[in-house]
């Protein structure tokens, strides 16, 4: 008999727009407080938005639930509320059982520490006790295939080794409820399969799992039931095959309303994929480049002197890069626009391409490319988070000295 282990009702989360960058100074806050003592601290004038609106759900013991939806749809927010990282603005949830959350691979890793030390540290942060880690330690090391390097500082690890160790620790977490966000997207394919296998074992072991993923085949393989989150609300809940199917059709052919709006347009973008290197995942990048990305543009009537714009945004809608190519002549037919990048040093995460086409009369098409671009590589950056920037540049240092 299965019992309800997660019960959520009316969960909503409101964020203040731009809270992270515009009002980040105490000086400003104090200045405002001096000018208008009452307004500054009650300050309700800020623009807010609902990342999650009135979400209710129940999860049964032993169930593997998938969460799908586009970037910014609220699925990560939902996961963060359920794992208690952030609090809801309203609504409530009750969780029965120990919760483990895997929102990132290598949470709490420190480059100066050895593999052994990091396994303990990361294990403790993820919720394991010292004795539990000691008991599972050999298993973790052999799962990660790192027997020889376990006492080497992880800063000397290759990215593959780093990910393997991080995942091995996470895979040995044994909470009653496991919340996983996209972490399976990292690492080489062989190791990913191993992890999926381990996750499958965990699921069969009666544990409850909520899995957020952009990789729909993963969702199909693992989840009994799937929820599609769209614009902060639950758009569809049901059997995985059904929900994934309707999500896919909505995503691949662009939404219904925009299709009717597209009737009789001169041209529109229809799809995109990573053309080079050819991997098994057309929307996933496993390196910092080189890479070639191609976009399919359907042209219905000839366009001369067109401008074609391309922009790349990250999950928080920050512009990473943009460019515009002018004076294109496009005949009727489907065109392949291929962008070649000698390097694409992006931090791990998901990104959105924005493609646009303009002619002399104005905008012809503007497309937020779907699915999103997934970047699945290690973060080659400073151990301190405040020193993490936009670029993910692998670097090596050599020191040479000259005499005299």
């Amino acid at each position: 008999m299965s019992a309800t282990v997660i019960h959520a009702a009316g969960l909503s989360k409101r964020y203040v727009r731009g809270a992270t960058n515009s009002s980040g100074l105490l000086r400003d806050k104090l200045t405002r407080a001096l000018r208008a003592p009452l307004k500054a601290w009650s300050g309700n004038k800020q623009e807010t938005f609902w990342a999650l609106k009135d979400v209710s759900l129940q999860v049964q013991e032993g169930e593997v639930l998938g969460l799908i939806g586009r970037n910014g749809s609220g699925k990560t927010t939902l996961l963060k509320i359920l794992s208690r990282i952030t609090r809801p603005s309203s609504g409530w949830a009750e969780i029965h059982g120990r919760v483990g959350s895997l929102l990132e691979v290598g949470t709490g890793f420190h480059p100066e520490l050895t593999g052994r030390e990091n396994a303990y540290l990361s294990g403790a942060i993820l919720g394991m006790g010292k004795r539990e880690i000691t008991r599972k330690f050999d298993e973790i090391v052999s799962f990660a295939e790192l027997e020889k390097f376990i006492d080497t500082p992880v800063k000397h690890y290759s990215s593959g080794m780093y990910v393997r160790l991080a995942f091995a620790v996470a895979a040995h977490l044994e909470p009653e409820i496991l919340l996983v966000d996209e972490v399976l997207a990292v690492g080489d394919i062989k190791f990913q399969k191993k992890c999926l296998g381990k996750m499958g074992d965990v699921a069969r072991g009666g544990r409850t799992i909520i899995l957020v993923s952009h990789q729909l085949n993963q969702i199909r393989r693992l989840c009994h039931r799937t929820i599609w989150v769209d614009g902060g609300v639950l758009r569809q809940t049901g059997a995985t095959a059904e929900v994934v199917h309707s999500y896919e059709s909505a995503m691949s052919s662009r939404s219904e309303e925009s299709r009717t709006a597209q009737q009789g347009v001169k041209a529109r973008f229809v799809s995109w994929q990573i053309a080079e290197p050819v991997g098994n995942q057309p929307h996933r990048l496993d390196s910092v480049g080189p890479a070639e990305v191609s976009f399919q543009l359907e042209v219905n009537s000839p366009i001369g002197r067109a401008h074609q714009g391309i922009a790349l945004f990250d999950m928080e809608r920050r512009l990473m890069w943009a460019y515009s190519n002018d004076d294109l002549t496009l005949e009727v037919g489907v065109h392949d626009l291929r962008y070649k990048f000698p390097f694409l040093p992006l931090c791990p995460g998901s990104y959105t391409w924005q493609m646009s086409l303009w002619d002399e009369t104005g905008n012809v098409d503007m497309w937020e490319a779907l699915p999103e671009l997934q970047v699945a590589i290690p973060n080659y950056q400073h151990a301190r988070d405040e020193w993490n920037g936009f670029l993910n540049l692998p670097s090596t240092l050599s020191v040479s000295s000259r005499k005299g």
Binding site: R84, P88, I95, R98, S101, E112, I125
Partner: protein, 292 residues
């Protein structure tokens, strides 16, 4: 902020179903001083790991490691002895200048360095904070504790140093842990405010050097608190570090007078700072993961 009150009909039913399994209720932020001490206790191993990481990384990163921990108070002591002692000829409660300054610098350096690391700890751990849940209070507490390792090393040197001047600690030395606890609580009380503010406002970190510098001048590090006129002594004691440093010197050497007025004012102030700090930190805890 809207808040949904708990539904009493649900909790008992479910807790009967799963007797041994913990039940967590997730709700919007509420004010108040609910510290969830039971939960803190359950996470004590994580606290240990944070302290352990801090200490380990610190000693791995600095090439001279332990040596630096000893050199820092020693060098400061030399400078103080030269300028405040030999040149300015400030009184030193009948103690040799080097002992007088060293005995103050060891607790002072613990305070100033621990305060800085407590202030920065939330920002330095923002990635962990946004990816995993644990009682956030663990982080500032761990930073205040890990500073004690440096303190312990400095303290051993201090004891040897004091004895080498022929000053044997008397029975008053038994009260020394009391002053250390007071210093720890001061770090925590002030640090909780600063670390939450630092996570919410980016410019707080630039204030810290000024705060620390100002604070040292307002503490009896370079001069004895007996220089402060008697009737202002209680006001002076509102700086908790005044009570700590006075008490520390007195407990170790037996010189100077037992801190009374100053200590009472300091203890009261620490209590206020810690309670206020806990309440403030608790209130801000919910928004920190959204802001950092």
């Amino acid at each position: 902020m809207s808040s949904v009150t708990s539904n009493p009909a649900i909790t008992p039913r479910v807790s009967q179903q799963h007797t041994s399994i913990p039940t967590v209720r997730i709700e919007p932020m509420r004010g108040g001083l609910n510290l969830r001490l039971g939960e803190l206790w359950r996470y004590r191993e994580l606290l240990y790991f944070f302290v352990w990481r801090d200490v380990k990384v610190r000693y791995k990163q600095t090439a001279i490691g332990v040596l630096w921990v000893i050199l820092q108070p020693l060098l400061s002591m030399l400078v103080f002895t030269l300028f405040f002692g030999r040149l300015a000829k400030l009184p030193s409660q009948g103690l040799p200048y080097p002992v007088f300054y060293f005995a103050a610098l060891v607790p002072w350096l613990y305070f100033s360095m621990a305060l800085v690391s407590v202030t920065n700890i939330m920002v330095e751990n923002q990635r962990v904070i946004t990816k995993v849940y644990f009682p956030r209070l663990i982080l500032p507490v761990s930073a205040a504790i890990s500073g004690l390792v440096d303190f312990a090393i400095g303290f051993v040197v201090l004891i040897i140093f004091t004895m080498s001047y022929g000053i044997r600690p008397g029975p008053t030395v038994l009260l020394l842990p009391l002053f250390l606890v007071l210093a720890f609580l001061t770090v925590l009380g002030i640090g909780l405010w600063l670390s939450a503010l630092n996570a919410l406002y980016r410019d707080v970190r630039y204030l810290i050097p000024f705060i620390v510098q100002f604070w040292m001048l307002a503490s009896p590090v370079a001069y004895p608190s007996s220089m402060v006129p008697e009737r202002y002594r209680w006001l002076y004691g509102l700086n908790p570090m005044a009570g700590v440093i006075d008490g520390f010197r007195w407990a170790l050497t037996g010189h100077g007078q037992a801190p009374s007025t100053v200590l009472i004012a300091s203890t009261a102030m620490v209590a206020v700072a810690v309670l206020g700090g806990l309440a403030f930190f608790n209130r801000m805890e919910g928004s920190i993961a959204d802001r950092v």
